[in-house]
Amino acid sequence: MDISWYLELSAVLFVIGVLGVLLRRNVIVILMSVEVMLNAVNLTLVSLSQSMGDPAGQVLVFFAMSVAAAEAAVGLAIVIALFRGKQTVDITQINLFKY
């Protein structure tokens, strides 16, 4: 298979992730979109590593995955803390700005 398919898939996934972060209201959905973005990047790394025959890309994926796991844990902890105060996961409600 031509590598370009994998790279296109990865780009589309990344854009879907970005749009999710920018446009969705639910904080948990935003976190899921961030995970989608991370996976898109992992896909890029793995496909390029396979096509160039260099295992360094796959090693980097391991690092990225562990960081993603930690980040997911922390992110959800923040969501829980927010919910305790605001009783909502709607990100447009989490705004202290007064004008």
Binding site: L22, F97, Y99
Partner: protein
């Protein structure tokens, strides 16, 4: 001791005194009452330089000593350093400045006692001495000009010393602004000299100056003379000096009698080599000096305020000095500067002593409800000789000196001026004869108005209310000591310049010192007046002085203040015109001052309000408007900020790919 080090000390001690007395009490208010400390420091910082200058004088070997400190400006072809010159002329001037200055500092200890700004006074006085020393010791025109401007500044600070009274501030402004007009002329002269000669050092100016084109020389000398009319109060820029009497009396004595006003004379004497090359301008100088002397003397007779009489007297005597310079007798002008410092300083300090006492009288009268008197008005004085013996005797000695009574200091210098003017006229210069005649008339007037001043103040009966119970007192030792020092000098100070008829000119020490073979002052020829005529002139001067004093004594002792009415009746319109100062102040106000004030009110003020303020306010309004629009970027929502990040990232990637 190394002369360079001494010059350094002479200059820096007064500056240090000014800084210490000015800065320390400013930050430590508790020290402001320590008059003893402040006064002693201030006085010492002038007396020590006097002693050092005396040492330099005694050890002076004939060759000028040049002390260069550091470079001031080096730009293109212009190279100016802080360089100082010790030669005969600067030594005499330094001795006068520090000597008479030291005496006046001593006097100020007594006069300013009790004033809450005592410390500020001494700081300004020391600063003045520093600036004046820069003026007389400088070896190039920029350093001289620094001193020139500096003494103008100190004059402003000291005239307006009691600044809460707006009249004093106005007088200070008038002095400074009129001086600045003269300073503009000074700058133009420096520009011409630099363009022609490429340097402003005295050595260069004095050797290569006379080789300039006649037009350049004429312009330079004229401009420098015009600058001197401002600083030394001659027609047309003299009206600031009578107003300057608003300052404390030691200021009037030091600045407006003994030192600052003589700066113009020093300048002409220093550049005598060039001045002699401009005979047309010299004629102008002599005539203007003579006219100023006469006009000021006529005004002095009509004045009732004791300080105003002395102020116009100063203008008149300065006119004599310019007369002398105009006929080429520069060393005699400096001689008269010296004797004038003695007797005019003594007169001013004496008037201060009188005013000091009369202020106590005024205070007592006011307390007991007798009404107010003006402590400076001679019409409410009289008979003070009973209460103030030291002041009376020294004032009398100084009056006799200024009147030109033989053997007193003023006689020798004034007579020498008139003799030299006559000699130049005898040799054919018509302007000199004209100046001589004016000078003789003025000498008679001088004797009369000064005797009037003395008699109305000290002789006769007391003219203030409740005179049997309210008495003035003699002044403290700090003031009377100063009076005696200057009084004695007014008597003996003239003997250093005995006229040429005695000992064939060998006994005229000051002339040989300043204008001799190697002297710095160049002069016009001595003239060929026969000996008999010279003695005749001396006899004439003596006669005029004695007649003036005698006649005025008779008039004013017998009739007191009432005699003024008789003079007025005799001269009518002329007297009134003189008493109104010939309306010169009014003329200046109507033409120049109102032009500037109206121009500011109608032209500059609207410009400032509409254009300048408009620009500044408009800028503020524009900023506000833009910020009103931009504030919507801040929403507080995380997603809108995330949009911003994504946009930025896309921009960077595009730039990296395509730029």
């Amino acid at each position: 001791m190394d002369p360079a080090f001494l010059v350094w000390l002479i200059l820096l001690l007064p500056l240090a005194g000014a800084v210490l007395n000015g800065i320390v009490p400013l930050f430590i208010p508790g020290l402001r009452q320590k008059e003893g400390l402040i006064g002693s420091l201030g006085t010492a910082m002038v007396v020590i330089p006097f002693v050092l200058a005396l040492y330099l004088f005694v050890t002076f070997a004939g060759e000028p000593v040049i002390v260069t400190m550091f470079t001031w400006m080096a730009a293109g072809d212009l190279n100016v350093s802080f360089a100082y010159r010790v030669d005969e002329l600067s030594l005499i001037m330094t001795l006068i400045v520090t000597g008479v200055g030291g005496v006046i500092h001593l006097y100020s200890n007594g006069y300013m006692h009790g004033d809450p700004s005592f410390w500020r006074f001494f700081s300004y006085l020391n600063l003045f001495i520093f600036m004046m020393l820069n003026l007389v010791l400088g070896n190039n025109l920029p350093v001289l000009f620094l001193g020139w401007e500096g003494v103008g500044l100190c004059s402003y600070l000291l005239i307006g010393f009691w600044y809460e009274n707006l009249n004093n501030s106005a007088a200070a402004n008038k002095a400074f602004i009129m001086n600045r007009i003269g300073d503009f002329a000074f700058l133009l002269a420096m520009f011409i000299l630099f363009r022609e000669l490429g340097s402003l050092d005295f050595d260069v100016i004095l050797t290569q100056g006379p080789a300039m084109s006649q037009t350049s020389i004429n312009w330079v000398v004229f401009l420098l003379f015009f600058a001197s009319t401002g600083k030394s109060a001659q027609i047309p820029l003299y009206t600031w000096l009578p107003d300057a009497m608003a300052g404390p009396t030691p200021v009037s004595a030091l600045i407006h009698a003994a030192t600052m006003v003589t700066s113009g004379l020093y300048l002409l004497a220093r550049l005598s080599v060039i001045v002699l090359s401009a005979p047309v301008i010299m004629a102008l100088i002599a005539i203007m000096g003579a006219l100023t002397a006469l006009v000021a003397a006529t005004i002095a007779i009509t004045q009732n305020d004791i300080k105003k009489v002395l102020a116009y007297s100063t203008v008149s005597q300065l006119g004599y000095m310019f007369l002398s310079s105009g006929v080429g007798a520069f060393s005699v002008a400096i001689f008269h500067v010296m004797t004038h410092a003695f007797f005019k300083g003594c007169l001013f300090l004496g008037s201060g002593s009188v005013i000091h006492s009369m202020e106590h009288v005024e205070h007592e009268l006011h307390e007991s409800g007798e009404g107010r008197i003006d402590p400076q008005d001679m019409r409410t004085m009289g008979g003070l000789k009973k209460y103030m013996p030291s002041t009376r005797i020294t004032f009398m000695l100084a009056t006799l000196a200024i009147a030109g009574i033989p053997l007193f200091a003023g006689f020798f210098s004034k007579d020498e001026i008139l003799a030299r003017a006559f000699a130049q006229g005898y040799d054919g210069a018509f302007y000199a004869s004209f100046a001589w005649i004016i000078g003789v008339i003025t000498a008679l007037l001088t004797a009369i108005y000064m005797t009037r001043c003395y008699v109305l103040t000290f002789e006769g009966t007391e003219r203030w209310p409740a005179a049997e119970t309210v008495h003035p007192h003699e002044s403290p030792w700090t003031m009377t000591t100063a009076l005696w020092i200057l009084g004695v000098l007014s008597v003996v100070g003239g003997f250093i310049g005995l006229p040429a008829v005695i000992g064939e000119g060998h006994l005229n020490w000051i002339h040989h010192f300043l204008a001799g073979e190697e002297g710095p002052v160049r002069e016009a020829g001595e003239g060929h007046v026969p000996l008999g005529l010279e003695w005749g002139l001396i006899a004439l001067s003596s006669l005029i002085a004695l007649a003036g004093v005698g006649v005025a004594w008779q008039w004013f002792s017998q009739h007191g203040v009432a005699f003024d009415a008789r003079i007025r009746a005799r001269f009518g319109k002329l007297y009134d015109w003189a008493a109104a100062l010939y309306h010169v102040d009014d003329f200046y106000n109507k033409t120049f001052v109102s032009a500037v004030v109206d121009g500011a009110e109608k032209g500059l003020a609207p410009f400032d309000q509409r254009v300048v303020d408009g620009l500044v306010n408009g800028l503020a309004r524009a900023t506000r408007g833009i910020s009103q629009l931009l504030r919507y970027i801040q929403t507080g929502e995380v997603q809108s900020y995330a949009v911003g990040i994504v946009f930025g990232m896309v921009l960077v990637v595009v730039l990296m790919l395509f730029a």
